[in-house]
Symmetry: none
Subunit: 412 residues, 2 copies
């Protein structure tokens, strides 16, 4: 089965913005065995959008439109699809009530223009939106499926997975696709590929795709079969061979992010963690606490951004700082140790470095970072030199800090 995706919004036709919802949707559709054969981006232009919808419905089984469901004049998706399918729109008081309740919960008054969002195309099923006001719509039309989804990813993604995936699965032929995601930290992509490509290239099913982000590599395995058991067996066979080659460089076998994996390791040992962040400025704490239930093991921490705060908040020795400078192995180690002591946590992580663009010196150029790890067995600091912009350097620092902690926990 074929699908097309149309992203609606004039802002997506500027040099600053790009449609990324289609990447998420493509991944989800591919997992069902549906191929995406065309993508389009159109502005808030009713006649042009209606024409594109007519053309897409004439040639493809599934059409997904994203965006343009807001309450304002320039949100034209509902009108354009109704025109293309030659259907009227119907006011649904129960949708209006749900929108009104949402506003009430927020302690705000609903504006009149939000009434517009309570209209559905005749014959459409409403797809509830738990993270915004615009409901989605599911329409069946001459053997085709047309889906309208809101543009913001936090609204689109749960709506698609909760209300569209089950309906699509029902509508599709019985072939199963099973996927597995292995995640790897602490290893460059080219080394990894050199090590495992002789193995995975022997398989045409599962298909292997390698995705690299800063400090984080994902190995996606995708098996197709008429039976679930056979698809799982294929995955198991190839994953087993890859795991044998990569060992504990693999931190996750189910796609879970590093902060969740580290959290589970801590929880299983009834251990706790604190942080002392300089160059990451809160990123490490933010990632750790992004995991629900992290209060079970995250004690807290210090954002010791300046020398003075390293002394006052963490109690570092002034002489240590003047002797070694803030970006040094000694200071990183002392920061982790002090965070561990002051919070009474089992483990502690520290970061100190030059994230740039300014502040580099010959001895410590931009990208020089020290990460400290304090464990019950003592404290060690590690030196890194990261390349890239401020954002990439901070991301790599947080990722490597979490990976060092993971290795310290499983190594103990």
């Amino acid at each position: 089965m074929d699908a097309e995706i149309i992203a609606v919004g004039s802002e997506l036709l500027t040099p600053q913005r790009i449609d990324t919802n289609s990447l998420y949707l493509t991944e989800q559709l591919n997992a069902l065995g549906v191929e995406v054969v065309a993508k389009a981006v159109l502005g808030d232009d009713r006649p042009r959008l209606a024409e594109a919808v007519r053309a897409a419905v004439a040639r493809s089984d599934i059409l997904i439109l994203t965006g343009g469901l807001g309450p304002t004049e320039d949100d034209v998706t509902r009108d354009a699809v109704a025109a293309a399918l030659e259907r009227r729109q119907v006011f649904h008081p129960e949708i209006l009530e749900a929108i009104e309740r949402r506003f009430q919960r927020l302690g705000r008054r609903m504006a009149d223009i939000n009434r517009r969002q309570a209209f559905l195309i005749a014959g459409a099923a409403a797809l509830p939106n738990h993270n915004g006001t615009a409901p989605g719509q599911w329409i069946e039309h001459s053997g085709r499926v047309i889906i309208l989804l809101p543009g913001p990813p936090p609204e689109l993604q749960p709506m698609f997975s909760e209300y569209c995936l089950p309906r699509l699965r029902e509508a599709l032929p019985a072939e199963v696709i099973r996927t597995r995601v292995l995640r790897v930290a602490g290893m460059p992509e080219s080394d990894l590929d050199q090590r495992i490509s002789p193995v995975y290239l022997e398989y045409r099913n599962p298909v292997t795709t390698i995705l690299a982000a800063p400090g984080d590599i994902q190995i996606h395995l995708r098996a197709r079969s008429s039976s679930e058991a056979e698809a799982e067996r294929l995955l198991e066979e190839l994953a087993g061979k890859i795991e044998a080659l990569l060992g504990e460089n693999i931190y996750s076998r189910d796609g879970a992010p590093l902060e969740a994996v580290v959290g589970e390791l801590l929880r299983a040992r009834a251990a706790t963690l604190s942080v002392a962040e300089s160059c990451t400025g809160g990123l490490l704490g933010e990632r750790i606490t992004s995991v629900p239930g992290s209060s079970d093991y995250f004690a807290g921490g210090f954002l010791a951004y300046t020398d003075r705060m390293k002394i006052e908040l963490l109690g570092l020795d002034e002489q240590l700082l003047s002797e070694h400078t803030a970006v040094s192995e000694q200071v990183a180690a002392a920061m982790a140790e002090r965070a561990q002591q002051r919070t009474g946590s089992t483990f502690a992580l520290s970061t100190t470095g030059i994230a740039g663009p300014g502040g580099g010196t010959e001895a410590a150029p931009v990208g020089t970072v020290f990460i400290g790890v304090a464990s019950p067995r003592g404290c060690r600091a590690h030196r890194y030199r990261f390349l890239g912009n401020r954002d990439r350097i901070r991301t790599l620092t947080a990722q490597n800090a979490l990976d060092l902690l993971r290795r310290a926990i499983i190594g103990g």
Copy 2:
């Protein structure tokens, strides 16, 4: 004048890849006063691509196709455009010679299949490729311009700027496009639109687009004119009216993010900031320190995630916590006050709340958040009730905290 862009290549229809050439081309076209009205991504599918070319040429002045000019079977752009325009293809020996010379310079033998790249659509002008083998093509057809460019950005960009821009400038009326971005915090989208739509809907030039993210609204204004001064005047006139209606809800007039705006306000006053984060767990510090040079004003802070850490790191009174609970106005205010005292900063922000999904109670359901702001004039805490998942609640908390600080600084 209007343009459409079609990116060709099946790899651009996978979850891993995205067309970014269109961003470069849009920027270049906008600077010439050309609006991009539609973008599409299509696979290596001749009939589907030919159909899309026919439709685009029927409605838009300029059509640019990127990719699909390689030597292999699945490079279908030349054939599809020739079919759509009903023109034959003509072999050009001088192009073949140029390709052969390129292979010689690289010390390699040209493969036979590269001959394919020496064919031009009848009537097309060749656009030389200094960084690859595939020449581009410039075709004029019934008053339209059709441009074929190679996919790799290092080939596409110099070819476009060297050989297409001069030709386009000649073909176009002299028009410029100028844009301005106003950013607004602390106001729901629908309220904002109700207030300003009567004003901006009166203007067809500039065009207004409103983009909403959690706690952050962008108002994009786009003016066209034959002169730069007139375009700026048009922007100034509409922006002035919108500013009069929204007042200090507008935090940025040049698109700068809230953390950068707050940083500039602090820097201009030689003031400093500290944070005491509970439910945001580092997100607030992370955003503040994402701005280069933030060490000028960011003192540091405390990740006081548990009750114990609120007592030990911040020195909160145990009785205050047991009397009011951690998620209370009193505790938020005390956290901000203590962060201010302990770091000696001019301002301090605190967050405490239930980010979920667990931990909600009847008195404080998931999404209940208190934000404390300490300034030289004293300390206040504000209660919020945010809806959505953990990520959204934390994002909204950080955004509102920064906005409260901004208002406290300019209000002082």
